[in-house]
Symmetry: C2
Subunit: 316 residues, 2 copies
């Protein structure tokens, strides 16, 4: 039995810090023009949110997940639905924190025939006043943390403690971050979306932007660009690129989250970086082939088989 097998056997436990969202997904022939009305052919109401979506991917890939973050105390029936959906995926939701008098974030997601998603979202500013449970509780048996930059306000202290303990902290850079953001210092890995990276660095070239952020953090830095693939800086600061796996895209909702979830699990499992990137890319690609947001995320066996049948492709 080699070391990798041992790591796999351990079943890593991942702490996902995020904001659960009610995702209302409409399959539409087209995004409506201003003032018009569009009829959807399909509708589902599911639990979502970046890090919570990633939690679903991790759980399906065989990781154990503890999910923490705020949910709204208003419209309690809707929260029960969210909680049920996460728990049925095997996610531990006991550390979600109810914020009274606030509506759980809600998103309307329009999926058009090409699989493109168009989103309208509402998040009550009071959600950021949440106090997470104690770090002793959250970091017990924790092998890695995945969080979103939007959680910095209530998660940075916890992530700093994890950093001190040598626990990897993976950050989903999905919005513009301040270059003085504390998360930059306590993160071990930051994977940006292209738009968020450009806005954060004030620089529209991916590699130049990564290099600018690299001056301010020792974290591994990468950027995903949907079907174009992923770019990152290696240990020597040199740019690496991996194209996305070509698939027939049906629904890109949750694909970036699937990437982050799979990448975090791979890091917790001790997979080397390039292998972790391939594992994450394959998970995201398979997710894109299925309708239903994160609930279209693949099982471990599917990813393993997909990778076994796909050639390795890395462009330097």
């Amino acid at each position: 039995m080699n070391i990798h097998d041992q790591t796999r056997r351990k079943t890593p436990r991942i702490l996902c810090i995020g904001m659960p969202v009610r995702d209302l997904i409409f399959r539409v022939p087209d995004v409506p023009a201003r003032g018009s009305k569009e009829h959807a052919s399909e509708f589902i109401e599911i639990a979502g949110g970046n890090s919570p979506n990633a939690a679903i991917s991790i759980s399906r890939l065989g990781g154990r997940v503890l999910l923490t973050g705020p949910i709204g105390g208003a419209l309690a029936a809707s929260n029960a639905t969210i909680d049920d959906q996460f728990r049925s995926e095997g996610i531990d939701t006991s550390c979600l924190v109810v914020v009274d008098g606030v509506v759980t974030p809600i998103s309307t997601i329009m999926i058009d025939p090409s699989g493109e998603r168009t989103i309208v979202t509402f998040r009550d500013p009071k959600l950021w006043t949440v106090k997470l449970p104690s770090s002793e509780m959250l970091l017990a048996e924790c092998d890695a943390i995945l969080t979103e930059d939007r959680c910095a306000e209530f998660a940075t202290e916890l992530c700093a403690e994890a950093h001190r303990r040598g626990i990897p902290v993976i950050v989903d850079g999905d919005r513009m971050m301040s270059l003085r953001e504390g998360l930059l210092q306590v993160a071990s890995h930051i994977i940006f979306s292209a738009d968020a990276l450009h806005a954060t660095a004030g620089e529209s070239d991916d590699i130049a932007a990564l290099r600018k952020v690299a001056k301010l953090t020792s974290a591994f830095l990468g950027v995903t660009s949907g079907s174009k693939g992923v770019d990152w800086l290696d240990r020597q600061g040199e740019p690496q690129r991996m194209p996305a796996f070509p698939v027939h895209t049906v629904d890109t909702l949750g694909a970036g989250d699937a990437f982050h979830g799979a990448f975090t699990l791979a890091i917790a499992e001790g997979q080397p970086l390039e292998q972790a990137m391939r594992f994450a890319s394959a998970t995201a690609a398979l997710k894109c082939t299925r309708f239903g947001g994160a609930f279209g995320s693949p099982q471990r066996i599917e990813v393993d088989e997909f990778l076994a049948s796909s050639p390795a492709e890395i462009t330097t």
Copy 2:
């Protein structure tokens, strides 16, 4: 005491036949472009639907309302919310019919800073299999019916019976109708939206379109065109026009429904046609000044005061 006062004292009872909808209203800075994400500054989840919205307006204007039509049996918690909201408006919801295994229609409504609304909606086709309660129950003490053309499949027989009994049947022509549609024969009044009228008549001029439909029905015919006002054919078949009251528009959602509701109540009260049109226009105008769909509909006293302070304006 004159006849008009007597009519008012009686408190008419209106039967509203429609499809209740869950309206998810997002106040947005702009409608999102395809593939983009827009952040809403406000969110509410309320009961809606054309005829149900009109029911709220009628109730606030002092009418008694019995609401019938299908609601979905799936996601029961959401239906409880809808039912609560209608009942808190004083509407009798005892004749709503649950259709098992179906999701209640749901609409995402984006309201932009100009008050314009952009809609994505889903209605399960199985909703049309609903069987309404008996006409004896629904038509007891009924002074007028308001229905939507989309309910023709399950409402025409009931409306025909009402027609035989001399009960006014007001139809909200909100979609393209077939010119062979039975509702055309049993309706006493049809008020179209401009788009629906043009599609129904195959004619883009309002008056020409009304005249074309008039050949196939003895019903009173009108068409509303938002802030441009309302056009109709009088008893002599001559076109009449009433401009809309100029107001500062905040939210047009439910304005057409408020018009239909107020018009129906006015007819049931025995108001002359022109007076009914003014009453309906004023109700719709006041609704436009308030956010919240039909829940922004005015009370009777507000409409009466608004009309008392506004000059009469009819253009022939």
